[in-house]
């Protein structure tokens, strides 16, 4: 059985921004294994967020194919992509990740509720993941009653609650202070090691790159380097 969770083959992404044709990705090929803790990094405009959006089935490539958890994204319609995101992909965005009218518990259970999981089962899973991300006792608080770091922990809890094939984290440490960033990274590293959760980061935060097991460097929409982390980033 293949250990590959994401396979990107010769992917190109062009779009038009005003009067300009932007070539965001130019023939990117990449394979990501289960249990990876990988950082896609590069300067602004290098195409890292675009690549994450394509992997997350939020956008479609101009050319090339992307397979996530064995599913060729080009064969999926709007609903198929929606179901794939719900069932097999977890998302952590930069900030304002959560639904402000829902409590930490309700945000964390959102994906499970979308899957139609019975409430009792859901409750068990959500309480476990909230405990795992260090939010035990804060489950009834709404986002505006939580710190930025705690909000990101709720987002991580939501992302891992459904046991997805991969968690895509777009600049997850961009809007928090250093101490919080370190603790979030500790948490995600721990989840990767103990639960085997696959994390793919888009980042230019050196702290993330230091923790990543593998670093893919994008420059001008192309992979400039793809290295196993030796801890000297």
């Amino acid at each position: 059985m293949s250990n590959t969770v994401i396979n990107i083959s010769n992917v190109t992404k062009d779009y038009r921004q005003g009067e300009l044709d932007v070539h965001a990705l130019r023939g990117v090929s990449l394979t990501i294994e289960k249990g990876a803790f990988i950082a896609i990094c590069g300067p602004s405009g290098s195409g890292k967020s675009t690549l994450l959006n394509l992997i997350g089935a939020l956008d479609s490539p101009t050319k090339g194919t992307i397979t996530v958890d064995g599913k060729d994204l080009s064969t999926l319609g709007r609903q198929g992509r929606s179901h794939l995101r719900r069932d097999r992909i977890g998302f952590v965005f930069q900030a304002y990740n959560l639904m402000p009218v829902l409590s930490a518990y309700e945000n964390a259970e959102a994906v499970l509720a979308l899957q139609g999981m019975p409430e009792k089962e859901r409750r068990e899973i959500v309480m476990t993941v909230l405990k795992d991300v260090g939010l035990e006792g804060l489950e009834h608080r709404r986002p505006d009653q939580l710190s930025g770091g705690q909000q990101q922990r709720v987002a991580i809890a939501r992302a891992i609650a459904s046991n997805p094939a991969v968690v895509l984290a777009d600049e997850p440490t961009a809007n928090v202070d250093s101490e919080t960033a370190e603790s979030l990274l500790d948490l995600m590293e721990d989840l990767n090691q103990k639960r085997g959760v696959t994390f793919v980061f888009s980042t230019h935060d050196h702290r993330v790159m230091e923790r990543a097991k593998r670093i893919v460097q994008l420059v001008d929409g192309k992979i400039a380097s793809d290295t196993q982390n030796q801890g000297d980033v």
Binding site: R85, F91, F93, Y96, M99, V101, A113, L114, G116
Partner: protein
């Protein structure tokens, strides 16, 4: 529970901007208040117009000679005993009266005037079938169908220079076209609310009129049928027509009094137009609230779609917000409308100052200067339905727009 509780999320979303939501609810409630009161004024005012016309004329539905409507004449009559047999099984008809109507020349020792007469049996009549807005101004009504009294409109009495107890001679053509005359003593004068009628109407005991006209004991120009609900007039007339003998016809009040019918139709049309304006204003307010609310949450919708919410779920969530606005707006509307409606339906609206000395009649029928207030239940439900439909319609575009959010674009919005 399985699946996300979209109603719960929608409910909480509404209260993120309390002031905006409350203002929207007030606008829905005020729209409901206006629509209910306006319709209530119209419903009861028109009901009173029509009922008054029926009281002074020949009922909500009239059975008459089939040519009477085109060529009114005392020679075109109906035998009421037979028709009463046909009508008695119709549960919508609550009261039936014989009436003889025609024209005559009135003369006293002072003067003479032409006038219309209405001959009736006081023992057949009640408040539903015959009631004069100002009532008896002077003297009293005659009490039996054979009474020797005659009652004149108050202006007619004045024009004739007639005093109570004076002889009044009426000259008219009888059933066979022969000139004939009768005499009565002035027993009273009445006010109808219509200056025109007060100057040209007199009342006769029906058997006296029959005697002068050469009628049989059950012969009349009209058989007047009264209903609890005048809106059923056409229905009753249509049902009755095929059961009548050849030579007779059944006509509803709107056919008998086309002027009044046109007036009511025009007023109703104006009322509907005004209600449409209210509905559009309320809808625009709700649309504005929902659209602003949706535009402020584009990033949030993007994230919801990214984590697996479907387009339909986002659409339904926003539509739930519309539904809650409609429901709460209606509840608030009922609360602010209940007391004023209750008070007005008991007391009416006194318009006497507004009308002052003006003629308060329509199509020759006088009406009360206290405007009655009351709404037909089906019209109240129609208003409720219109508000729900308008609110839900106002939510359609914002809901559609929310469901069509592209996560890639919207997630960039912070």
């Amino acid at each position: 529970m399985s699946g996300p509780n979209l109603a719960k999320i929608a409910w909480r979303n509404l209260w993120r901007h309390k002031r905006r939501t409350i203002l929207t609810l007030i606008s829905i409630a005020f729209g409901f208040f206006m629509a209910i009161l306006m319709t209530a004024m119209q419903d009861m005012t028109f009901k009173e117009f029509i009922d008054t016309a029926a009281r002074l004329g020949s009922g909500h539905v009239v059975v008459q000679h089939h040519e009477y409507q085109e060529k009114p004449s005392v020679s075109r009559t109906v035998r009421t005993t037979e028709v009463r047999e046909v009508i008695k099984n119709n549960s919508r008809v609550v009261h039936v009266v014989d009436r003889v109507m025609g024209e005559a020349m009135l003369a006293t020792s002072h003067d003479s005037f032409g006038a219309a007469f209405l001959a009736y049996d006081p023992e057949q009549e009640n408040d539903m079938s015959l009631q004069f807005i100002e009532g008896v101004v002077e003297g009293e009504m005659y009490r039996t169908a054979n009474d020797k009294g005659i009652v004149l409109g108050k202006v007619l009495a004045s024009n004739l220079g007639a005093e109570l107890g004076d002889k009044v001679v009426y000259t008219l053509m009888d059933k066979n076209g022969e000139l004939t005359a009768g005499m009565g003593r002035l027993s009273g004068t009445i006010g109808t609310g219509s200056p025109g009628a007060d100057a040209a109407l007199f009342l006769l005991p029906i058997n006296k009129a029959r005697e002068v006209l050469g009628y049989e004991a059950d012969e009349a120009t009209h058989l007047g049928l009264y209903l609890d609900d005048n809106r059923e007039s056409r229905l009753v007339a249509d049902a009755l027509a095929p059961t009548l003998d050849d030579g007779l016809s059944a006509a509803s009040w709107d056919m008998i009094a086309p002027d009044l019918n046109t007036f009511v139709a025009m007023k109703k049309g104006g009322g509907v137009f005004f209600l449409i304006i209210i509905a559009l204003l309320v809808t625009a307010g709700i649309f504005n609230t929902l659209f602003m609310s949706v535009m402020e949450r584009m990033r949030e919708f993007g994230i919801q779609i990214a984590i697996g919410y479907s387009t339909q779920q986002i659409f339904r969530m926003v539509m739930w917000e519309s539904a809650f606005l409609a429901g709460m707006g209606l509840v608030l509307g009922v609360l602010i409308t209940a007391w004023p409606y209750s008070w007005l339906s008991e007391n009416g609206i006194d318009m006497s100052a507004a009308y002052a000395e003006q003629d308060v009649s329509v199509g020759g029928v006088g009406f009360n200067t206290t405007m009655p207030v009351g709404i037909y239940p089906e019209n109240a439900w129609l208003i409720v339905a219109c508000i729900v439909v308008a609110t839900m319609a106002a939510g359609l575009y914002p809901a559609w727009k929310a469901g069509r959010v592209e996560p890639v674009e919207s997630i960039k919005l912070v």
